[in-house]
Amino acid sequence: MRWLLVKDLQILRRSPLLVALLIIYPITLALMIGFALSSPPGKPKVAFLTEVPKGQGRIHLGSQQINISSYAKDLYSSIQPIIVHSQAEALEAVRSGRALAALIIPADIPEQIQSLVTTGVGSPTVQLILNTRDPVEKQFADEAIQARLNDVEQAVSKQVLRVAVVDLQQVLNGGSIQFLGQTFPLLGLRNSRTLLRSAISALPARSPLRAELGRVVGFADLAIQGLAFASPVLGSIGTPLTVDQTELSGRTTPTATYAATIAVIFSLMLVTLLLAAGMLALEWEEHAFARLVRGLVSPGALLAEKVALAGGLAAAASLLMAAGVSTFVPLQWSRFPLWVVALVLAGTAFAALGVAIGGLAREVRAASLLAFMLSLPVAFVALVPAAAVSGGLKSVLDTVAFVFPFKPALDAVNNAFSDTAPAIGLPLLHLAALAVAFGLLARVALKRVA
């Protein structure tokens, strides 16, 4: 077996395409995933025009005011603003592709908002111009701007409600209001009721005013009770929904780590299957199989050599890939021995599947095609979320995922990388069982050929 291994390594050394597949492909994939996971999406370039004159972006709501220009700063955190000075310039920026979108704030926006909140009449409108040539970029810019505009809307609504609540409290309890630069006292319903009660008690017992004033006091009671309820209700509209969030105590995998694990396992699967299936099929293409098994090497030893070669090289390449990914995504280096165990066992199981494919195909091109055709649905089936399919179909998918190494490999390596559920023992046992099963299948395939 040793000399066969040496021979296969010599062949690989002289096959630049295979070497590229083994080394460059996983590393490239790792780097791509790493960059994708660690780099936040860029900010869209948006032409920004505000026609509101400087210092006039304030909306007065009772005793308080909102400066809408302060929200422009928040908007700048979501976009790369290109400041323009006219609508024509804004349109040109979008047409030329210099900006993905243009946002135009009209001069009358403060007045429109002021009118809407004080009289209920008004239609504050901002103008958004989007370039529709690329639907993905359009959506990207649209979402970034809409999110910020929603913030402005919510802030204005909250402020209006806050002012309304303060005013209501003053109607109830009294206070003071500012008008034309002067401060005026406001009596309030409760104080009015107290004064009326004092006045009633001072009136003669048979005075006809007692009954009239009594009705006013009764109205004041009802109004006080009603408005006392209204205040907290109005206050709650500003934050209509409170989410009572509960977190279960189970450990979960960070999304980035899980994505990295999928990338490592997918790469391991492809490399191992192609290598094991291809190198075994090569023995037929070189017409060497019959010569080898004619007393020089047993079929079992030949299969073991291919499994060791493919599993070992792919596991080594995957370790390299994991190391590369770990510069972008946090993987637990303290569990490195478990990385090795999980990747070697996963590589062994995939290699056993690979030699079964190679033994059945007996031609490098057919074996490679079969390996590709099998690996894609196997990965897909293992990655379909349980909630995404109906119960019956889920059972079928679970069964398919169970008989191929992708799912247990994912579980084992995921645990090795990040110490998350499920525990590593069962997936490793599963992988070992699959390695034996596919090894036996490959042996049957060789026997059929012999």
Partner: protein, 241 residues
């Protein structure tokens, strides 16, 4: 020519070999013996069972019935029809690999010996895939000879070679027989069988119909044929099913 069969022990003997593939009988009770230094050609039309017979003699396939007898302790070399070599390895690397797999005492000495015998020493570092078909076939034969077998079996050894390459290969194989190695080969080229065989075995539909020298086959046909090929065709016509 070898000495008479009665005076020597056979290197290889087939005893009532029968091989069935499902309902089809590829070989039916084939028996013969081959002696040291003898060059034996197995000839017959396509599908006659030549490759099956050689595969059973080489131990690649097991007979359904019958047995193969060979002297204990000495291997039988086998050379498949297509060169069974690794095209990405050099000539020397191929020889070294199979010498190691054969567990020879001194693999390097065996490699050196074969490079001399095949006269390919100058190309020992060349990848086999870059060699001509004839040179590849010489390496293919050399690998069959690594274990220094008493008998060498070759399946259609010249089928993919041009006339010049064939001539060189037969010179190489003739040299082996001259040094005492028993050689049995299958071929559908009856002219080669006439030129390079001491004895021919005619196999038709899995049955051995003739065993003798090419001259004896011509005589067996009766009326004088134009050449050996005509005699062979007439023999098949007369004795085939």
């Amino acid at each position: 020519m070898p000495a008479t069969a009665a005076t020597r022990e056979a290197t290889l003997a087939a005893r009532a070999l029968t091989k069935r593939f499902g309902r089809r009988t590829a070989l039916h009770e084939v028996s013969f013996e081959i002696y040291p230094g003898e060059l034996v050609a197995v000839i017959g039309p396509n599908g006659a069972g030549k490759t099956t017979l050689l595969s059973i003699l080489a131990g690649i396939e097991a007979p359904s019935e019958g047995e193969v007898l060979s002297p204990p302790g000495r291997k039988v070399g086998w050379v498949p029809q297509q060169p069974a070599l690794y095209s990405k390895l050099s000539v020397a690397e191929n020889l070294r690999l199979f010498a190691r797999l054969e567990k020879l005492q001194d693999p390097e000495a065996a490699v050196e010996r074969m490079l001399d015998q095949t006269e390919l020493r100058e190309r020992s570092r060349d990848e086999v895939g870059r060699l001509s078909g004839g040179n590849q076939q010489r390496i293919n034969v050399a690998i069959g000879l690594l274990c220094e077998p008493l008998a060498l079996l070759l399946d259609e050894p010249t089928s993919s070679l041009d006339p010049r390459q064939r001539e060189r290969l037969w010179g190489f194989i003739g040299g082996l027989a001259g040094r005492g190695t028993t050689v049995a080969y299958s071929t559908h080229n009856v002219t080669e069988a006439e030129r390079y065989a001491d004895r021919v075995l005619v196999l038709v539909d899995g049955e051995l119909l003739f065993s003798g020298t090419p001259t004896e086959l011509e005589q067996a046909v009766g009326a004088r044929p134009r050449d050996f090929e005509s005699a062979f065709v007439r023999f098949i016509d007369e004795h085939g099913k």
